[in-house]
């Protein structure tokens, strides 16, 4: 266990808070001081408000003194990706388009975290409108990886992973459309969970690709991820894709659900392009499960090679539609260069959006345009059915799949200028979004040069409990998360 408050886990801090060994104000002050000290090197936040954080902490302490604690998250500083609405706080999506936007309402996850007593701490940087794999597409500048500040933290939720790894929050929330929680978690050496599509409400999440987007936690440990998931999951009538599932006690499942499990190794995920050090680390994780009596089976997901293309058709099509709302009329950036009312749209959008967002809107508009819809969008939706079926077929034989999270470790800021090269970072994560499955990235070692490696476990729909239990079994024997970057 780390002696610094800001590197401790929710489970540990909640116990200290309940035992009155620690106050939320002390904890929040420690996180604020840490943030002020390291933020010049990391730049994980778009904004934070110290006095607001301390006021929330004081309220939490008052609840505990009155014997009215809301549970393990009461008084814990949690950072939110800057695509999740908090009333009265900025909400920028790391875009010039929303540079001055202030949320008029709370996202459902925000409401739930407030109910759980969490100290909502700061707005975390990301790729603009969550489009990217490196956080370099932020209009406000890139975030650095705490393990090597010349490298990217991954993305799009790179601020969420970097802030947690650097001790600037105790847990964070991100959103995952094609790997945007799991890939940055892997690159920064923390746990990242993407829930089953429909488990966590998307109300108040800035929409990128609505059929793929899910909010999920970043945490130091699987147990902490289970605690946060339990607080944010659940049906919400404000999200029509929200599912009426019963929410189990995820934390209790960590110890009540015991193996041995049957794990599938998709052979397509260990093909060309995988960094040999990552392959070796994941092989060791496989060997661990085998040593615990788990049955390891090679499985095949034959449509894996079509995931990337299917994803880029569907995600850009949905993005081009979702981002149509940014027209300079009701909110967001309005151009002063426009000559007439119609011109406002094209100029406000040209000035407000960055290059990657424009690129994806153009591609999405194209694949939806008259004459091409069937050839691209409809066909991609059909291939999506086949991709989902591949996973469901595999789950007839196994409880979960084990793969690398990212084919490469954290790369240098500015290294990948070609959009297509950057899109390939997501090859192991996007199938999960297309199929709507839950998946978690857990730290599974370091490269020789000291960069974190993540292993991905993919679970059956709605089986977050067993997914977390499987991940927890590995983590207990491999406490990589007790190592922290030196800043």
């Amino acid at each position: 266990m780390s002696s610094e408050l800001y590197f401790r886990t929710i489970a540990d801090l909640a116990a200290a808070l309940d035992a009155k060994q620690l106050s939320s104000v002390e904890l929040t002050q420690a996180v604020i001081a840490r943030t002020q000290a390291v933020e010049p090197h990391i730049q994980a936040f778009n904004s934070f408000d110290e006095s607001d954080g301390l006021a929330q902490a004081a309220a939490s302490d008052a609840r505990r003194v009155a014997g009215q604690s809301c549970g393990p998250l009461d008084g814990i500083p949690i950072g939110l990706k800057d695509v999740i609405a908090v009333t009265g706080q900025p909400l920028t999506a790391s875009s010039k388009m929303l540079k001055d936007f202030v949320s008029p309402y709370d996202a459902t996850v925000t409401t739930k975290l407030k109910k759980a007593g969490a100290v909502l701490w700061g707005r975390l940087n990301c790729d603009e409108f969550a489009m990217g794999s490196s956080t370099e597409n932020s209009a406000f500048g890139p975030t650095s990886n705490p393990w090597d500040p010349t490298r990217v933290p991954g993305g799009s939720s790179g601020g969420s992973s970097a802030a947690l790894a650097a001790g600037e929050a105790i847990a964070t929330l991100g959103s995952d459309t094609g790997g945007s929680i799991r890939q940055p978690a892997a690159l920064c050496g923390v746990v990242g969970l993407k829930p089953t599509y429909g488990l966590v409400s998307r109300y108040g999440l800035i929409a990128f690709a609505s059929s793929l987007d899910q909010i999920g936690p970043f945490a130091r440990t699987v147990e902490d991820a289970a605690i946060v998931l339990g607080a944010i999951a659940g049906h919400d009538e404000r999200d029509s894709t929200s599912f009426q599932a019963e929410i189990p006690d995820y934390r209790a499942a960590l110890t009540s659900q015991r193996g041995p499990w049957k794990l599938g190794i998709p052979k397509e995920y260990f093909a060309t392009g995988l960094d040999p050090e990552i392959a070796a680390a994941v092989e060791k994780a496989i060997a661990f499960y085998q040593s615990q009596g788990c049955e390891i089976r090679e499985v095949s997901l034959p449509h894996t090679q079509y995931c990337l293309d299917t994803y880029y058709v569907i995600a850009t099509a949905e993005a081009s539609s979702n981002l149509g709302r940014y027209d300079g009329i009701r909110y967001g950036h309005r151009s002063t260069a426009a000559k007439d009312a119609v011109d406002i749209y094209a100029h406000s959008r040209a000035e407000g959006f960055g290059p990657e967002v424009k690129r994806r809107i153009i591609l999405g508009t194209y694949v939806l345009s008259s004459g091409y819809y069937d050839a691209y969008y409809l066909r991609a939706q059909k291939v999506r059915t086949l991709i989902r079926q591949d996973f469901l077929n595999a789950f007839c034989d196994v409880d979960a799949l084990l793969t690398p999270t990212s084919p490469i470790p954290a790369f240098k800021i500015g290294e990948k200028a070609d959009p297509l090269a950057l899109y390939l970072c997501d090859i192991y994560t996007i199938g999960v979004n297309l199929a709507g499955l839950p998946a978690i990235s857990v730290p599974c070692g370091f490269t020789k040069s000291g960069l974190p490696i993540g292993a991905q476990l993919i679970g059956q729909p709605w089986k977050e409990s067993s997914l977390l239990a499987i991940a927890h079994a590995y983590e207990r024997a491999h406490p990589w998360s007790t190592q922290h970057p030196i800043l």
Partner: protein, 96 residues
């Protein structure tokens, strides 16, 4: 099935309501050409008789009681408007 060749960037930019510079048009046309070339491999998949998936959640229709809920105040709703007057959003004249 054959995929169409290069995209008409001017037409698409107009549909997308994006005022692109000549430089952006050239860059995007080339980059999107590369991406579309990659995407062409979707044509190789046999999708005969396959139903499309809109999203992976097993939900197909959702009904809600038609009851008024508390909403935003006028001030909150207009808080982010680029220009406003008398509880309305200001826009340039559309009809002369």
């Amino acid at each position: 099935m054959s995929f169409p060749p290069a995209l008409d960037i001017d037409h698409i930019a107009k549909l997308a309501r994006l005022a692109l510079t000549a430089e952006e048009k050239a860059t995007f046309a080339q980059q999107l050409g590369d991406v579309l070339h990659h995407i062409e491999q979707l044509a190789k998949v046999d999708v005969t008789g396959v139903e499309p998936t809109a999203h992976a959640s097993p939900i197909f229709n959702v009904w809600q009681a038609d009851v008024a809920q508390p909403g935003l105040t006028v001030a909150d709703a207009l808080r982010n408007a680029p220009a406003q007057r008398d509880n309305m959003i200001l826009v340039p004249k559309v009809v002369e």
